[in-house]
């Protein structure tokens, strides 16, 4: 029998009993075999987070550990499955009033973590599940780290993704533990590492296959106390070791990092640059001075609009991880995919990687072979990067069934058709497949614009039909837009949302209508861009301008990527549905392009050229083209229009293009296509690349000021035309002094 002795800290016990404060329940301490076990388990949340109430509590526990002669060491662990500590409490950071307040939060964390590190008694972190941000920094303060090898165990410093930096000693401790290069890669990319990689990097000291690490961690603490266990320091070898150890080498690494950050962020994101500054400051001066700087800059960053935008986006994403339509009765086991093209194969790929079986149907084995090849390549690149073994790759692919008929389609719980975007074809496919399906199976159409109710027209099971609009390439693009009609049942929607979430997508659910949400707001955006170049704006200049605004890809480039024929059809059908507001021009220019078979990247020619010197199609190379198609320029010249009024400055140009997207997004909310601004923000950012640091179009308007934006649109409407007239909802809100959030 093990002796379990509850903590003797009466004061804490009392607070717990009297107030039943959730914080006291979220963090408890007990003593087992001479080792204090500090356990996180927030009863009210799915994940554990660190906040200003828990951190002092750790301090109090530490005091007790140090003063009690019967305690030889401590273990910090979580009793929550799949989560050690997910990071700092972002809500608390967001509600802080000013930089000073956040700075002091950071200092409090630093102080307690420093005391852990300086404690004479060994403290062991037993990490099972997500160990992120502040959680990682807490683990870094411990004297020994054991991680479990379950898939959910990941360690990372994702603060830059929220426009922040690690604010509890991370900027100083991590480079000293891992070396500058590895630490920078962790903090700048924010991408987490698995337990096995953490061990190789020296981030943890031991990896255990047991999910419950308590016994092992207690043993480690006992042995550390007896000096019977030594942490093995990773020695850095070779050239990189030499670079790391000299101050000249460190400067060189930081300089390179800065250059690459500047090239990637175009100066739009302050956090990574500040992070580099703080790290350098600590290296040049001292650890302690570095900490001062870290806290100070952490406070300042928290108040930047970029951090606010990114944090808002983070909350949107978290919100959308919940399935508001409820859990499906039976999650999808087998998914049927019609069409083995880029989209179909992509959808099958993200499904089989999450344990579903995928049956893909296409007309020939060769077409299916191409699809399989695409999936194999994607998986094999993971094998090359060592995030998957060759065996796992083959095993995953075994769940892919290729077929030219509807063999065993009655086993499919969900069917996604990804055939060519043509109404007649979609009708034919649905008619052909329906008899082979189970009554409860859900049929989804992967389309970017074709109305779902129209597709479902001839079906007698309209309640099980919806749209699942994936973005290309499916494995990379984070968004899934689900489109429901008035007849789609809640059960069908729940199943589709659940599947999308399992496929790792951020899922928004919108109502059926021309262009749904994302395509509908993309239409006017591309329309305005095309108009601007007809007014004489340079193709590359316009793309650069919009990238400077924060879009990852310029609008003209995007037209090439989407395909000029597709862009034309989208614009045309939106124009028919919404009139002048949607298309400010006759779409003759794009029609001319189509006549010349300049369809964008896929045909090798569009507004840009995608051919190598030998004229071979460079469409498959990943490099993006910067060579403008001169023939296209001549054509644009032919379609030249008199500028309504040349944009006064860069910001007016950018706004002309961006506002049309923003205004249309607000129309979508007004018409009920969108059910919340959150859906709208996530959809625009994750689907179309709306500048992430703004937090999305709705957050953007809130931040800029609803009235200000509405007024500016009115001004634009006077100068450039009625299409800029602000949406009535926006005007109402401006008048009523309301905001979207």
């Amino acid at each position: 029998m093990e002796k379990v002795m509850e903590t003797t800290n009466r004061k804490n016990q009392n607070t717990l009993d009297q107030n039943k404060s959730p914080d006291a329940r979220a963090l408890t301490m007990s003593v087992k075999d001479g080792i204090a076990v500090i356990a996180f388990d927030d009863p009210d949340k799915k994940v554990n987070t660190l906040n200003s109430k828990l951190i002092p509590l750790i301090g109090e526990f530490l005091k007790e550990i140090e003063s009690s002669p019967s305690i030889q060491g401590a273990v910090i662990l979580s009793r929550k499955k799949g989560c050690f500590i997910a990071g700092a409490d972002i809500e608390e950071l967001r509600s802080a009033k000013n930089a000073k307040e956040v700075e002091s939060l950071s200092r409090k964390g630093q102080e307690v973590f420093t005391r852990i590190e300086n404690s004479k008694k060994p403290v062991v972190a037993a990490i099972s599940g997500a160990c992120l941000g502040g959680g990682l920094e807490l683990a870094l303060a411990c004297h020994y780290r054991i991680a479990s090898d379950i898939p959910s165990t990941v360690l990372g410093a994702p603060e830059v993704m929220l426009g922040l930096l690690p604010g509890a000693r991370g900027t100083q401790r991590l480079p000293r533990l891992l070396g500058l290069e590895k630490a920078l890669s962790m903090m700048l990319t924010g991408s987490p590492v698995k337990a096995s990689k953490a061990l190789r990097m020296g981030l943890v000291d031991y990896v255990s296959y047991a999910e419950d690490l308590e016994a092992l961690a207690i043993q480690a603490a006992q042995r550390l106390a007896k000096k019977n266990l030594v942490r093995r320091q990773k020695k850095k070898k070779g050239l990189s070791g030499l670079l790391e150890s000299s101050s000249f080498g460190q400067k060189f690494i930081l300089k390179k990092a800065k250059e690459s950050v500047e090239a990637k962020t175009r100066g739009l994101y302050p956090a990574p640059l500040v992070l580099l500054k703080v790290i350098e400051y600590g290296l040049v001066n001292s650890f302690e001075q570095g900490l001062q700087k870290e806290a100070e800059e952490f406070g300042k960053l928290s108040q930047t609009p970029e951090a606010r935008g990114l944090i808002s986006l983070y909350f949107a994403q978290t919100e959308l991880k919940k399935n508001r339509f409820g859990k499906p009765a039976q999650p999808v086991k087998t998914i049927g995919v019609l069409g083995a093209g880029l989209m179909g194969a992509g959808i099958a790929s993200v499904s089989i990687q999450k344990g579903m079986t995928a049956r893909i149907k296409d007309i020939s084995l060769n077409a299916l072979g191409k699809g399989k090849k695409q999936i194999w390549k994607e998986l094999d690149s993971k094998v090359q990067r060592k995030s998957l073994t060759a065996f796992q790759r083959d095993q995953t692919l075994s769940h892919l069934c290729l077929q030219t008929d509807l063999h065993r389609f009655e086993t499919c719980d969900l069917i996604v058709e990804a055939v060519f975007e043509e109404m007649e074809l979609k009708h034919r496919v649905l008619k052909e497949v329906e008899p082979a399906l189970r009554d409860d199976a859900v049929f989804a159409s992967n389309t970017s614009a074709l109305p779902i109710s129209e597709i479902a027209k001839y079906s007698n099971r309209k309640d099980r039909i919806l749209g699942m609009h994936y973005f290309s390439p499916v494995p990379k693009m984070p968004l899934l837009e689900i489109i429901v009609t008035d007849e789609t049942s809640k059960e069908a929607t729940a199943l589709a949302v659940d599947t999308g979430l399992r496929q790792g997508k951020t899922v928004i659910v919108v109502k059926d209508g021309p262009g749904f949400y994302t395509t509908r707001i993309l239409g006017p955006y591309m329309d305005e861009a095309a108009l601007l170049i007809r007014e004489g704006y340079g193709i590359r200049e316009l793309d650069d301008a919009m990238q400077l605004f924060g879009y990852p890809v310029g609008p003209i480039k995007l037209i090439d990527e989407v395909g000029i024929d597709v862009a034309f059809h989208v614009g045309d059908s939106l124009g028919k549905a919404f009139g002048k507001r949607m298309s400010a021009q006759e779409p003759t220019l794009l029609q001319e392009f189509i006549k010349n078979k300049w369809l964008g990247r896929k045909s090798g020619k569009g507004f840009y050229l995608y051919q190598d010197k030998k004229g071979a199609l460079a469409a498959l190379t990943k490099k993006s083209s910067r060579t403008v198609n001169l023939e296209a320029l001549e054509l644009v010249e032919k379609f030249k229009v008199k500028p309504q009024k040349m944009a006064a400055d860069l910001s007016d140009t950018q706004k002309r293009v961006a506002y049309r997207m923003v205004n249309e997004a607000i129309f979508c909310l007004q018409e009920g296509i969108l059910s919340t601004p959150t859906d709208g923000d996530a959809g625009a950012v994750f689907g179309l690349g709306f500048p992430p640091f703004t937090g999305g179009p709705f957050r953007y308007v809130d931040t800029k000021g609803v009235k200000k934006v509405a007024d500016e649109m009115k001004r634009f409407a006077e100068i450039f035309g009625e299409r800029f007239a602000p949406c009535p909802l926006l005007v109402d809100m401006a008048n009523g002094g309301k905001t979207f959030y």
């Binding site: 084995l365 072979g369 191409k370 194999w376 083959d394 075994s398 769940h399 077929q403």
Partner: protein, 436 residues
């Protein structure tokens, strides 16, 4: 007549990868890749939930040292439930016959209700070893730690000879007497009095029947197409059968094993082949519950072994009579014969022995003759000579082919037989549960 109780083992259906000549289409694949394709193909074709499957037995001949229990690796790689046990069976060319009868026994004894019998081999990737001298040295070197040991080992290098650099490749020879299969078959041909002409005639027949069967898409349900990275070109046809084969053409080839009196040539012997097969078996009761129509009941079987030299390839001749006798059946009662064709002369020899009163009397102590196997009931969709013979995969192919023929011909009984290295023979009796 066999009793049709609930626990009788039934063959539901089987699949195989296309069988391809070695060092051709499958040259980049390991045996476990082929086995995985067959297993995932079986699951896909039959559309059954792997939660029903309780055991896998897989036959193989050429063992890749990395996958000593290849059955298990194939099962895992095919994405089947990890809690299904899997074992590998090795009995030369009748390995997957044995895998199938293993599963049949487990079902019959009520140990399991659903199992998979499978088989796989590739000759494109033989496990070639270093010479014994080199191997031993490498093992010693791994253990070296102290400088003194290393110095001593360096002294040893003096004894290293050029011959130690030669490689040790496996051959299709008997370990006990060093004779290859081809040599063994020449001995059999002489014993049974088989001439070149009848051998070539039999070989040509096999090719012509196989080509016709492929053309008629007889195997369409049983061949799972394979696509191999990185090109993913679809392979959905065997490349063994040659449409232009005639006895006259075959007659022009020179003997491959015995240049003086030999009857076996490259044209009338089975060729090295890569491929895999898999077959679902259940109890009669479970088949009904799962909604499957059983194609055949595996009613009985016989394994025997004989003299390793003279009887290396006479397995069918010394097992079929025993099986028939045991089940009180005559040759005429059997309407479906599927016999493994190792060599054309071996097939002709076995036919001759089966109708020879002397052989039956001397070898098996039978006083009565059994009659002759009519050619029109034998291997009518081609055989190993034409379709190819990936050693471990052939038995399952023969069994599901026989089961399918029972249904198509509405026949009552089938016999599947084969010979194997070591002087082994096997004969399996199938009965059609749907015979009317």
């Amino acid at each position: 007549m066999t009793e049709k109780t609930d626990t009788m083992p039934a063959i539901i259906d089987g699949v195989r990868t296309p069988f391809m000549r070695s060092h051709k289409a499958y040259v980049d694949l390991r045996a476990c890749d082929l086995g995985r394709f067959a297993l995932s193909g079986l699951m896909d074709r039959l559309g059954i939930d792997d939660s029903y499957v309780e055991h896998l037995a897989m036959g193989t001949v050429i063992h890749d040292p990395h996958t000593p229990n290849i059955a298990r690796e194939c099962l895992l790689a095919a994405g089947l439930r990890a809690t299904i046990p899997a074992h590998t069976v090795s009995l030369a060319c009748i390995s997957s016959n044995m895998a199938s009868t293993n599963i049949a026994d487990m079902i019959r004894l009520g140990r399991i209700e659903v199992g998979i019998a499978a088989g796989v081999d590739t000759c494109s990737d033989p496990p070639i070893r270093l010479s014994p001298g080199f191997r031993h040295a490498l093992v010693r070197w791994q253990k070296l730690k102290k400088p003194a040991q290393i110095a001593q080992e360096l002294m040893h290098l003096k004894n290293f000879e050029l011959a130690d650099l030669a490689l040790d490749a496996p051959s299709v020879a008997e370990f006990s007497n060093g004779k290859t299969m081809g040599e063994g078959c020449e001995i059999l041909a002489q014993i049974a009095g088989v001439n070149r002409e009848e051998s070539d005639r039999y070989a040509a027949r096999s090719h012509i029947l196989a080509v016709k069967a492929l053309k008629d898409k007889v195997f369409a349900d049983n061949i799972v197409p394979v696509q191999i990275p990185p090109a993913f070109k679809t392979i959905d046809q065997d490349d063994g059968p040659r449409a232009d084969t005639t006895p006259e053409k075959l007659a022009k080839l020179s003997p491959a094993f015995d240049r003086t009196f030999g009857v076996n040539t490259a044209g009338n012997s089975s060729f090295l082949t890569d491929g895999a097969s898999a077959m679902l078996m259940t109890s009669v009761k479970r088949a009904k519950e799962l909604g499957f129509q059983a194609k055949a009941i595996l009613a009985d079987y016989v394994y025997q072994a004989g003299n390793v030299l003279q009887e290396m390839l006479t397995g069918p001749a010394f097992t079929i009579p025993v099986l028939l006798n045991k089940n009180k059946l005559k040759i005429d009662d059997i309407d479906v014969w599927e016999i493994h064709e190792a060599f054309a002369s071996q097939m002709v020899a076995n036919m001759k022995l089966l109708k020879s009163p002397r052989f039956l009397q001397e070898r098996l102590g039978f006083s009565k003759t059994l009659g002759e196997i009519p050619l029109e009931k034998l291997n009518v969709w081609g055989g190993s000579l034409s379709l190819g013979h990936p050693f471990g995969a052939t038995g399952v192919r023969l069994l599901f082919t026989a089961a399918k023929r029972l249904q198509e011909q509405n026949a009552r009984y089938a016999v599947v037989a084969g010979c194997a290295a070591g002087g082994h023979g096997s004969a399996i009796l199938l009965e059609n549960p749907n015979f009317t």
